[in-house]
């Protein structure tokens, strides 16, 4: 609201002072209008400027870098077209990195969502010392992934690590957590799950508490036991939240870098690249081999992978949930 004080009293008396005042009011008014018009843009501009410079531009410029020979120190070289892409796509290491990234992602996201749902269901009771339990499951979140990496790489040590020792104590064979492919993926996925399961459990808990209790009462009257209630009421009602968690964990999980980087002291993803992820590969190409062109190509390919898996994710979650839930039936009716 601009000031509307251009008062009629100012007009009749034609004194010098009065005139000056009128002019000043007019000026303030223009300033005020200008303030109203420009301020919003001014206030949102820091985000947009920063995002354009440090987010969008680098992402697009990656495409430009990827079609050149480009050295970290020497800078831009010859235009090579899609050569960086074709070289990378023919490199076995690249495909290993794709395999590792997807495998670690699956091993961390699927069990994590299931575990988080279970923990949330446990927390969604009328507990004594409620805040204590809620805070307890969140503790791992404040531990940096790098620290988690150091701790777990020691716990999962092939020789004289605590986990192998426990396995041996109960009569099992020790596992090559670092040297073998799938075990190393499991170990790295464990680090991710350690840090994020409690966090996601709290997100689910919040959503669970928003489910109207009369739905449970109705289910109870229909003779559903607690497990049936969980699968037929809770899970369908949590659908949007589950999709949200899965999508954010897809975007983050496929860019995983810290944990595999810290899984040993060399950070090259293992002797046989058995736990080299795509982001590790980008780093290795760009900053170890100084080949920015190829690093940019891999970054773009990873971008495409994230997009594809994101869409697949979305389609699957939509399919699954459109089966039985009362909510989606209602939606269908509305659409029809």
């Amino acid at each position: 609201m601009t000031s509307t004080q251009t008062s009629p009293e100012a007009e009749p008396t034609a004194g010098d002072e009065r005139q000056r005042q009128t002019r000043r009011v007019g000026f303030t008014q223009t300033l005020g209008r200008w303030d109203v018009k420009v301020s919003p843009y001014l206030y949102i501009s820091p985000f947009f400027i920063l995002f354009l410079v440090t987010g969008l531009f680098p992402l697009l410029y990656t495409a430009y870098v990827s079609v050149f020979k480009w050295d970290l120190l020497l800078g831009k070289g010859d235009f090579v077209g899609f050569e960086n892409f074709s070289t990378v796509l023919q490199a076995p290491v690249f495909w290993k990195a794709v395999r590792n990234t997807v495998s670690i992602f699956l091993l961390s996201s699927v069990p994590q969502v299931i575990l988080a749902l279970v923990i949330a269901a446990l927390l969604d009771a009328n507990l004594r010392a409620r805040t204590f339990w809620r805070m307890g499951v969140l503790v791992p979140y404040v531990v940096a992934p790098v620290a988690v990496g150091v701790i777990f790489s020691r716990m999962f040590a092939d020789q004289s690590g605590i986990i192998n020792q426990v396995l041996q104590n109960i009569g099992l064979n020790p596992i090559g957590w670092h040297s073998e492919v799938l075990p190393s993926h499991l170990a790295i996925a464990t680090m991710v799950n350690f840090r994020w399961t409690g966090y996601n459990a709290l997100i689910f808990l919040a959503a669970m508490q928003a489910i109207p209790r009369d739905l449970y009462e109705a289910a109870l009257i229909d003779g559903a036991n607690r497990f049936r209630q969980f699968f037929s009421v809770t899970i369908p009602m949590l659908r949007p939240t589950i999709i949200f968690v899965i999508i954010t964990s897809t975007i983050g999980g496929l860019q995983i870098f810290d944990e595999p980087r810290m899984f040993d002291q060399y950070g090259r993803g293992g002797a046989d690249q058995q736990y080299l992820t795509l982001t590790n590969y980008v780093y290795q190409l760009g900053w170890t081999n100084r080949n920015f062109g190829r690093a940019a190509a891999v970054a773009w390919l990873l971008f495409v992978l994230i997009l594809v898996i994101g869409i697949v994710n979305y389609l699957i979650t939509r399919r699954i949930s459109s089966d039985k839930s009362a909510v989606s039936k209602k939606r269908k009716k509305v659409r029809a």
Binding site: F57, P58, T131, M135, I162, M262, Q265, G286, F303
Partner: protein, 307 residues
């Protein structure tokens, strides 16, 4: 569905309405399903979850308080810590990786980014939530969309930009890209939409306050609860951030995670030393958690904190 869920109320009518609905529902006893205390099984299972959440941390503390010799001899450390914690701390601080510098760098980066994210996000959130201007809707959608963009993939050009600016190895290379986040803008917009009544803004405007004055004396105080949470999450994210600082800072001017990586790469045979470094880097955030963990929990539960 007889009554709309609180979540959907929140979606359509804002946080304030959602909270009111929740209160009403609590009073009506609709949440009564959980009124009965759960049985001991629930507590046992939750205790198991907590043990798993704590043990790795305790494990690092146990290793940090013993000697390399003990660690080699006992793969399963005894639950009672050894007496070498202080000695190992001193060794970390004396090691040639600039640990103190890493601590002060981490504090500096985390404090500056937290303050700036809160300030700029509240400013933008105020504009999006309460001011009318052309293009508001599409611009807000754009902000929300950018939370899903994997900007980490732009590291190559971002590094080139920093090189052009001569910022390689300088803290501003880490600080500047984090000065304001899409998530922060979205978070504050949502909060202010519900928490700041138009009447208050209009009253200030009628009193002749400029736009910025209105923001500073009306919107900013009203935003305080959400701003505190945003500051906490930004602080944690900054403190634990590794990928970009690792690339752009290098070993001469590290933040804590970068220093930990250096420690591991240099002294990989000396586990008690490395774990002492881990413990030192975790302690500050654990202290923060003791003080403000309640608010972190509330923040996560209040909304889509991740994006």
């Amino acid at each position: 569905m007889s009554a709309p869920s609180v979540a959907s109320i929140e979606q359509f009518a804002g946080k304030g309405a959602a909270r009111a609905a929740q209160r009403k529902r609590n009073r009506a006893g609709l949440n009564a399903g959980s009124q009965r205390r759960p049985r001991w099984v629930t507590y046992v299972l939750l205790a198991a979850v907590l043990v798993i959440s704590f043990y790795p941390l305790y494990y690092s503390f146990l290793l940090a308080s013993s000697t390399a010799d003990d660690i080699a001899r006992h793969p399963i450390p005894s639950l009672i810590p050894g007496g070498h914690l202080m000695e190992n701390f001193h060794r970390v601080l004396d090691a040639d990786i600039g640990f103190w510098k890493a601590v002060s760098n981490s504090v500096l980066v985390a404090v500056i980014t937290s303050v700036s994210v809160v300030l700029f996000s509240t400013l933008a959130g105020f504009a999006f939530a309460k001011l009318r201007f052309r293009g508001r809707g599409p611009l807000l959608v754009f902000v929300i969309a950018t939370t899903a963009v994997p900007t980490q993939l732009g590291v190559v050009p971002l590094f080139l930009v920093m090189k052009q600016l001569g910022w390689i190895g300088q803290l501003q290379a880490v600080i500047v890209p984090g000065l304001v986040t899409a998530f922060g803008v979205f978070w504050m917009t949502q909060y202010l939409e519900a928490a700041l009544p138009y009447e208050l803004i209009e009253a200030a405007r009628v009193d002749g306050a400029s736009m910025f004055r209105t923001f500073w004396s009306i919107a900013l105080p009203a935003a305080r609860p959400a701003a505190t949470m945003l500051a906490l999450f930004t602080f944690v994210a900054s403190w634990t951030n590794f990928f970009w600082p690792f690339i752009v800072l290098g070993s001469s001017n590290p933040t804590l995670p970068v220093a930990l990586q250096l420690l591991q790469a240099t002294f990989f045979k000396d586990m008690s030393l490395i774990m002492a470094g881990v413990v030192l880097s975790v302690i500050p955030l654990l202290l923060l958690f003791v003080v403000a963990g309640r608010q972190l929990v509330a923040g996560i539960m209040q909304g889509a904190i991740k994006g």
